[in-house]
């Protein structure tokens, strides 16, 4: 039986990583007796392996808590800048948000960005300072900061410890008191927002939905607005926190739907579910957006024979990852592979890891790049692979994506932040003091400049205190050039990169120096060159190898020597040939590696 709509509260928790969101959820599960004490474990809701390892939440999900006669739906939000759109859809399923801030650390850029998203979506904000039990906590100061941001009295900010449970009861009471109940028309045609979807091997596509109007019955012929796909839904239910089937989900309610679909691309986040046939709604809920990849990379199997395995693996992953896009491509140096688009570097990392772990693949990935718009005689070409960029001056102009970045830093590091952003071709938009000690700075930055090591640099220049968030901000004209890398005169397509003209020389020099160390000496001198068009901008030489022979070869050495030769022979077979030059896999992998730290966000 559907709950009285006035007793429903749909809310989420906006918090920075490590500010205690999962712990707070755990306490709420306990206090509301949603999870039996004996079954309780830490970070209960963070189920996926990958989530646990990375300490972040990838898949949003909703859990129903029953407390003081109210149905509280806690909707989880992804905590990474790669998933801003997913965050916005989760917010669209809520009427309120707990703004949870670490009383020692204060506001972080991502929290702030998500707070803005939540406020812009019309959500009621319930602010709370967490970890007040920590010796380093500065609740008064942090309360000032939050009060300033929210334009409220510092005394309105709740102070809690998710760890000890102190203040959590009061927080739940505040949610019930301040967050408005949802509004919906039970008699209108069904409109349910998909705010997350997942793929289950046995049950197919499962969507997490928020019913706005009408009623979603357990078994019904449903239709997806954006894709137009119809299907027979098999089960509706709520997470409490385990999946519990219900007869129907009424207006304002949040739950899951086993859709009967077999491909997540048919049930996309942000899309609206309605009933098929004459009871269908005529208008979808607003805000749907196609997932848009921001970062591209070529993925190639280390063993060329694994190409079909990689293809099948991507096809399978796609079933459960609606943001994943790819198209086949081939490289002279790396053979057959795919150009894959990702939401960001973290998403890229997750996909790579899943491909390697779940499908046993060994992969070579090219350096990630952003999308470029190349204009030639008023015709625009979208380029996802640097090798496809025109080499010389046979185009009019090039555009690259930029982002609107929010950085929060202690005031003492402001200079360092400016310096870094200027070096990364940033344009200062504005800045404002959150408190006398903390500054919020906005920059427009080329996406290409921040996808690699920007965050690491920012952290190291501010001793870890600055935080960053960004959102897409369109495209802008840039003086970009394609830098090619040549081995013994042969261009290696996998090493081509598009960089800003002012940085081309530094980049080229770095690459040839790196490759000089990675390419084994051959029987002849190998020139390693970086060029723009036909102009060589950097050069190193891998000197010819002069000695490769075993000094001693007596009775017992002969076996060892033969085995050594056989190993060398196998190694040679595994090498890729670029013109006359043998290049080991490892050299490709190492030369294309993004600095590890760049991915940790």
């Amino acid at each position: 039986m559907a709950t009285d709509i006035s007793r429903i509260r749909n809310f989420c928790i906006v918090a920075h990583i490590d500010h205690g969101k999962s712990t707070l959820a755990d306490r709420m599960l306990e206090i509301t007796h949603t999870v039996d004490e004996r079954m309780m474990r830490a970070q209960y809701l963070d189920r996926m392996d990958l989530e646990r390892e990375r300490g972040i939440t990838i898949k949003a999900q909703a859990v129903r808590l029953v407390h003081e006669g109210h149905e509280l739906n806690l909707i989880d939000t992804p905590g990474h800048v790669d998933f801003t759109y997913e965050v916005s859809r989760s917010l669209a399923a809520c009427e309120g948000a707990i703004l949870l801030v670490d009383a020692a650390q204060g506001l972080e850029a991502q929290t702030l960005a998500n707070f803005h998203l939540a406020r812009d979506a019309g959500l009621t904000i319930v602010p709370a300072l967490n970890k007040i039990d920590l010796p380093a906590a500065e609740p008064d100061r942090r309360a000032e900061e939050l009060a300033h941001l929210l334009d409220r009295d510092p005394h309105d900010i709740l102070r809690i410890s998710a760890k000890t449970g102190a203040g959590v009861e009061e927080l739940l009471a505040a949610v019930i008191a301040h967050v408005p109940p949802p509004v919906g028309d039970a008699s209108a045609p069904l409109r349910a927002l998909i705010f997350d979807s997942a793929f289950d091997t046995y049950r197919g596509v499962i969507t997490y939905v928020r019913v706005h109007d009408g009623t979603l019955p357990s078994h019904a012929r449903i239709r997806m607005f954006a894709t137009g796909v119809e299907s027979d839904a098999e089960e509706a239910g709520v997470m409490a926190p385990e999946a519990t089937p219900v007869d129907a989900l009424g207006p304002g309610e949040v739950g899951y739907l086993v859709t009967g679909l077999k491909d997540v691309h048919h049930a996309k986040v942000g899309d609206t579910i309605t009933l098929a046939g004459k009871h269908a709604a005529t208008e979808p809920l607003p805000g749907y957006r196609e997932p848009k990849p921001m970062v591209w990379s070529g993925l190639y199997p280390a063993d060329g024979n694994d190409y079909p395995v990689l293809r099948d693996a991507l096809d399978k992953l796609k079933l459960s990852d609606s943001a994943l896009v790819y198209e086949p491509e081939s490289s002279q140096a790396l053979g057959f592979g795919f150009r894959v688009g990702f939401l960001g570097l973290l998403h890229m990392d997750i996909v790579r890891e899943r491909l390697e772990r779940e499908f046993g693949l060994e992969l070579i990935s090219t350096a990630p790049n952003v999308e470029f718009h190349v204009f030639r005689a008023d015709r625009m070409t979208v380029v996802h692979n640097p090798a496809e960029m025109p080499a010389g001056g046979d185009h009019d102009r090039v555009e690259e994506p930029v982002v609107y970045a929010t950085i929060i830093t202690p005031a003492e590091y402001l200079g360092a932040v400016f310096e870094l952003c200027q070096a990364r071709r940033g344009e200062l938009v504005d800045m404002s003091y959150l408190t006398p000690e903390r500054v919020e700075v906005h920059y427009v930055l080329p996406l290409a400049e921040i996808v690699f090591d920007f965050f690491d640099q920012l952290k190291s220049k501010t001793r870890g205190f600055a935080s960053l968030d960004y959102e897409p901000w369109g495209f802008q004209d840039s003086r970009l050039v394609r830098v090619d890398i040549l081995l013994h005169g042969e261009p290696v397509d996998a090493f081509s990169s598009v960089v800003h003209r002012d940085k081309a020389y530094t980049y080229g020099k770095q690459m040839v120096e790196r490759l000089k160390e990675l390419i084994p000496r051959q029987l002849f001198d190998v020139a390693v060159q970086a060029s723009i068009g036909s102009k060589v901008i950097a050069r190193e030489t891998v000197k010819a190898k002069r000695k490769d022979v075993l000094a001693k070869c007596y009775g017992g050495d002969i076996t060892r020597k033969r085995k050594l030769l056989e190993t060398q022979k196998k190694g040679k077979e595994r090498m890729r040939r670029v013109g006359r030059v043998d290049v080991p896999q490892e050299a490709f992998i190492a030369a294309l590696r993004v600095d590890e730290g760049a991915k940790k966000r």
Binding site: L523, F524, K543, K545, R546, K547, D548, V549, L550, A551, K552, C553, Y554, G555, G556, I558, T559, K561, R562, L564, L565, E566, Q568, K569, K572
Partner: protein
């Protein structure tokens, strides 16, 4: 058991050393002197156990290697060789080599060793540069080498070989030239010169791995090799294997046996034996070796049977090592033409023979030819 018409060799391993050198990964031990009596007895016993298997084979060489065989007493060495003659069909004119370290021999001991029948003396000189000797952790000084050669000559040795190692830390083209000149001044009949190789399982290997010692520079080693080729050629030595030179007629018959793929018996801890595409070897730790032999068993620790492709690969690389070369007809021309054009191989009337530069890149040649 099949018999072989080819002349064969006997290798005897003596695992005792006064000290262990940092670069050496041979089956050799310092401080095991207490085992010597048992070890000698075991060698005699093993010969008896192995002998019947070699019935019908005639042997033309014996090689006592180590370790440092001259750490055994001359009378023990005499007993050993005499015993080998009773068990194996060993010709009177067999080449009998014993390895020695400079500080382990005196005129007195050498006289006894020569008299016992060890007619070829191979001395581990390694270097005439004190700094290089120190880097190699050798305990002797250049003067000891000169003294040992003089003693050998004094007691009538007419076949002396000096072993050299080049490319250790501190070695330069100058120091190596000096070592070669000092060596030539002693006029040995035979010279072995080895590029220092870093073996991972040695103290030096570990030092290099952790960055406490620099790895040898292969380019410098190449220069040092070419210098040796040049000076020894000028002095009239024949370069007959990658690391071996001799006055004409003084090539080491025993070692040539390995490279010509002739049979050899192996006695002692870790010693290898080979016949008809089968290679087998004794257990390596001296204690384990002793226990097996004392129990009346052949102390075999392992074996391998070469399939035709293994045998072919060995044939090719060994023939290239001894500059005998391989018939060009064995390969598609595309496999060797580039090597000939770039001067790594020369086509000597249908025989592909490595040049000096080619010897330095022998692994590449073998891989290119047999790939």
């Amino acid at each position: 058991m099949s018999t072989s018409a080819e002349p064969a060799g006997i290798y005897v391993h003596v695992p005792f050393c006064l000290t262990r050198c940092g670069y050496c990964d041979f089956n050799a031990y310092a401080g095991l002197d207490g085992l010597k009596p048992r070890y000698l007895a075991a060698l005699l016993r093993e010969a008896e156990l192995a002998g019947p298997g070699w019935a019908g084979t005639s042997f033309t060489s014996v090689f006592l290697g180590g370790g440092t065989p001259t750490t055994l007493a001359p009378e023990d060495l005499r007993t050993l060789l005499a015993h080998l003659r009773t068990v194996f069909d060993l010709g009177d004119d067999a080449e009998v080599t014993i390895e020695a370290n400079p500080d382990t021999v005196t005129e007195l001991s050498l006289a006894a060793i020569l008299d016992a029948g060890y007619g070829r003396l191979s001395i581990g000189a390694q270097s005439f540069d004190p700094a290089v000797l120190t880097a190699l952790e050798r305990i002797h000084q250049p003067a000891s080498v000169r003294a040992a050669v003089a003693a050998a000559r004094g007691v009538g040795y007419g076949n002396v070989s000096l072993d050299l190692i080049y490319g250790a830390q501190g070695e330069t083209l100058g120091s190596w030239t000096h070592t070669l000149e000092q060596t030539l001044a002693l006029a040995p009949e035979h010279i072995s010169a080895y590029a220092l190789t870093i073996e991972p399982a040695t103290p030096l290997g570990r030092k290099v791995a952790v960055g406490e010692a620099p790895p040898p520079d292969p380019d410098l080693q190449a220069d040092l090799f070419l210098r040796a080729c040049e000076l020894l050629r000028e002095a009239g030595y024949v370069h007959y294997e990658v690391s071996n030179w001799a006055r004409p007629g003084f090539e080491c018959r025993h070692n040539l046996g390995y490279w010509e793929r002739r049979p050899y018996a192996g006695l002692g801890a870790g010693a290898h034996a080979y016949r008809d595409d089968v290679r087998w070897w004794n257990v390596r730790p001296p204690e384990a070796y002793l226990e097996r032999v004392e129990a009346g068993e052949l102390p075999i620790g392992g074996s391998e049977s070469l399939d035709p492709s293994d045998a072919y690969l060995e044939e090719v690389f060994l023939r290239l090592r001894i500059l005998e070369g391989v018939p060009a007809s064995w390969f598609e021309p595309a496999r060797y033409e580039a090597f000939v054009a770039s001067g790594l191989l020369q086509d000597d009337l249908g025989r592909l023979v490595p040049t000096e530069r080619g010897l330095l890149l022998l692994n590449e040649l073998v891989l290119g030819l047999t790939a």
